[in-house]
């Protein structure tokens, strides 16, 4: 047997104190009796029949010393280094997402989860092994399998909550190979259940113990926000925001808008239970800057009460249209506002003087190096054409993609399309059963939109969706708008910025003001910074000038802090919140229980003696 807290034996100094109390005279009731003769004989006889005369006289002392010894032993926290045949493997997944910063648990959900994880560490056998995973936007392995409790405690202590959304699926996928094929393996998930993506994860009979933290949802937050050019006046900006009340009460507060720290407008917001309120601010903007939306309301999660929005001034976009005929495409391009169009039959210098090149069913002498919209052009390094498809039927399109915003492909017929396989760099936006019809993606730093059929051989240009698509494509391909969208980063996602090639170091200033210098490898064309766990404005200086990025949470699932007592995995499986507490191998609890029993017996014995 060993002791975790041997210093507690210092309490043994209390033993002489107890004995001292017994050396002191006890207050007795004086009673005059006819004769003490019978009492003397009574005491002599009862003591003579006891095996331990001295001790019997002081049974209370013995009991109290026993009680004290038990308490001291309990404080010293003895434990047995037991040997079991095979240890268990326990994978602890600690949810470190933004919602875990809620203060409905004291001091926060994350600290409560950490405390419970500590209890689990304390209950480990010597042969048990534990893994610590910290799940936020990305899952970090904070401790590989070990039985070393000190290392596990250190790993847990080093975990910090983040401002990022939860991706528990990733954590479970990392845990899965560890516990697979091990009957004695357990996954202990400490979370509030604010994870939207678990249904994608097939449970496969994993032994998941879900420790639910969180008691209530008293939270209001900004779940989406965007700064766009005003549709009617390009010089003005429209700032959109959605405020969500996750609590079951009516909540009111103030929504404040600032631009580069200067107050712009405040608005009173009243929300019913679980109600979302859209808000639009119209602001005139003279320069590039950051809009800050701050929600002033008393709730238990602060992280989602503030959002920073990067807003860049609109710039005219230079577009080169490479075409033989012009036609509908040229007309559609000409109605796009703030666009300078040049029409040519071939590309010179790779289109370096233009922001966007549009290739309309021609084979240029050189392929453009800038962002490109290609219609029925098939360079082999972009897509691999395997054939042709007659009258392909449009079966699906991704209307959530910015390119297909307000775009509808109903009643669009196509005469013929190139049959290609979806390349790795692109996502299919419009699909026929045999081939993708519209692809979009990034090749290195170059954005490409590829249309696999001749628009003139389809009914699409006759539909209203065609000019909208062209306008969306130019907006998406415009490097300035791409730059603006890159400046908006979700917490946990990496910051990316292009490099000119001469920089050797990048200095990143975090939202709290600390600066971090990151070395850049020679030849690296893009700088990426992944440590975006905290929301706020990140400033990056790569030697080409300072650029800034707004990192925000903007996640309805995190703002909805309602604790879930049940997690669904895949389609059928689910894990209920456990009410079990870790069993402790340490003996102090049993010793404390024994001490309590002895104390109660001593109390009873005392009263029995004197009653």
């Amino acid at each position: 047997m060993s002791f975790l807290a041997p210093t507690a034996f210092a309490f043994a100094a209390a033993i002489p104190i107890v004995i001292l109390f017994y050396l002191l005279k006890r207050r007795r009731v004086v009673k005059l009796v006819p004769s003490t003769l019978l009492w003397q004989r009574f005491l002599a006889e009862t003591q003579a029949s006891a095996p331990f005369q001295k001790l019997r006289k002081n049974w209370l002392l013995v009991l109290q010393l026993l009680l004290l010894t038990l308490v001291i032993l309990a404080l010293a926290r003895p434990f047995f280094a037991g040997k079991t045949a095979a240890g268990r493997l326990i994978v602890v997944i600690l949810d470190a997402s933004a919602s875990m910063q809620s203060t409905d648990e004291s001091p926060s959900r994350f600290e409560r989860a950490r405390r419970e994880a500590f209890d689990l560490v304390n209950s480990l056998h010597e042969t048990d092994q534990m893994v610590v995973l910290l799940a936020s936007a990305h899952t970090e392995v904070r401790q590989s399998p070990t039985s070393n409790k000190a290392a596990l405690r250190r790993a847990l202590q080093s975990c910090q909550p983040t401002d990022t959304p939860t991706r528990l699926t990733e954590a479970l996928k990392i845990a899965h190979p560890l516990v697979k094929d091990r009957r004695d393996a357990e996954i202990h998930l400490y979370s509030d259940g604010a994870a939207p993506d678990l249904t994608e994860f097939e449970f496969e009979g994993l032994n998941v113990v879900y420790h639910q933290v969180g008691r209530r949802a008293l939270n209001v937050g900004i779940v989406s926000a965007e700064a766009r050019a005003h549709p009617e006046d390009p010089r003005r900006r429209a700032v959109f925001a959605s405020v969500f009340n996750a609590s079951s009460n009516n909540v009111s507060g103030e929504l404040e808008l600032r631009f580069d720290g200067t107050f712009v407008e405040t608005r009173h917001v009243e929300l019913g239970p679980r109600e979302t309120s859209p808000q639009v601010f119209t602001v005139s903007q003279e320069k590039d800057g950051v809009f800050t939306l701050r929600l002033d309301v008393a709730d238990e999660l602060l992280v989602d009460n503030e959002v920073q929005l990067a807003s860049l001034m609109p710039k005219p976009v230079n577009v080169l249209l490479v075409t033989r005929s012009g036609g509908y495409l040229e007309r559609a391009l000409r109605v796009v506002p703030n666009l300078s169009l040049t029409v040519a039959e071939d590309i010179a210098d790779g289109g370096a003087n233009y922001d966007v090149v549009v290739i309309d069913d021609v084979l240029p002498s050189s392929w453009p190096a800038v962002n490109t919209l290609a219609v029925r052009s098939a360079p082999t390094n972009w897509v691999q054409v395997t054939g042709r498809v007659e009258a392909p039927l449009i079966v699906d399109w991704k209307n959530t993609h910015p390119l297909l915003r307000f775009v509808n492909f109903d009643e669009v017929q196509i005469a013929e399309a190139l049959k290609v396989r979806t390349p790795t760099w692109a996502v299919p936006l419009v699909e026929a059963p045999d081939t993708p019809l519209v692809l979009a993606g990034e090749l290195g730093r170059q954005r490409v939109v590829w249309i696999g059929f001749d628009t003139m051989q389809s009914t699409w240009p006759l539909r209203i969706s065609f000019p909208i698509f062209v306008a969306n494509a130019i907006d998406w391909l415009n490097p300035a708008s791409a730059r603006a969208s890159q400046a908006m980063v979700r917490a946990g996602d990496p910051i990316r910025t292009p490099l000119s090639g001469s920089a050797t170091n990048a200095v990143v200033q975090l939202p709290d003001g600390t600066k971090r210098t990151v070395p850049i490898d020679p030849g690296q064309r893009e700088f990426a910074f992944a440590d975006t766990a905290r929301q706020g404005v990140y400033k990056v200086d790569t030697g080409d000038g300072e650029s800034w990025f707004c990192v925000n949470l903007l996640d309805p699932a995190e703002t909805d802090t309602t604790p879930k007592s049940e997690l669904r995995f895949g389609r059928y499986a689910r894990a209920l919140a456990t009410t079990l507490k870790p069993a402790n191998l340490e003996l102090w609890r049993r010793l404390a229980a024994a001490a309590l029993a002895v104390m109660m017996f001593e109390w009873w014995f005392y009263h029995r003696r004197t009653a």
Binding site: R26, R27, R28, V29, V30, K31, L32, V33, P34, S35, T36, L37, L38, W39, Q40, R41, F42, L43, E45, T46, R608, R609, T610, A611
Partner: protein, 298 residues
Amino acid sequence: MVDTLLSPELLRRLEQLELLARRRAKSSVKGERSSRARGHSVEFADYRSYVAGDDLRYLDWNLYGRLERLFLKLYEEERELPVRIFLDASESMTFGEPVKFDFARQVAGAIGYIALCGFDCVSTVVFPERESDAALRTALRTVRGRKSALAFLRNLAALTAGGPANLNESLRRGALEARHAGLAVVISDFLDPAGYEQGLGALVGRGFQVDVIQVLSPEELEPTAFGDLRLVDSETGAQQEVTFGRHRLAAYRQTVEAYVRKLRDFCRARGASFFLASSATPIDELVLKRLRQAEVVG
């Protein structure tokens, strides 16, 4: 006062009783008890040869007619039975509910009354000595005759108790002082640290027929005071600390039983009768039932 000590009803019933002596009376005073002495009662005892000077009235003339020899008829001399009552009036007898001394006085009164009604001589030895009621004690020293019974009971009722007693010494002196051995009734709680063996032994050795009546209060037989106690002996002032609870009652009872058993065995070994009585025992139950069953009275 007499009424409070013994009720008239009890006195009437006591008049029908007499003390049963297992030995012949040795007193020199005439009474109603048979004795070894020859005298002038109506009970024939023996014959002896006539010698000159004998009273001719006691010659058996019928025998002379048959044998032509002179024989004198001898009759038993009836003497009184000296009854000596040793009454413990020490401080320890003043305790109890009812008070042990009150009960002891009733027992002494009942036995004395029976003896006086039977024309026996009653001598009451009240110990320890007290100056305050010396006259009463002297008056109780020798009482004879039925007509003295009321005075005897009155004096008994007027007695007070107090002070430390030496049981052995009191009994031994009482045994020595008696001119004739007779019936000795010792009424005490027998809670003398010095013991009782020598005193009772002296009485038995002197030839007394000894009846021992131990009087203990209900509190002594079954204490009701519990807790951390400091007990002070009423006679010696000795202190004894004890922590007592209900669970130890059984052990205490065993102690009392052992003490009483020892006294009883001591008495039986010496031919003495022994009675244990709680001071709460009705007096008529003790005298009319238990003493009759034991043939102390009859």
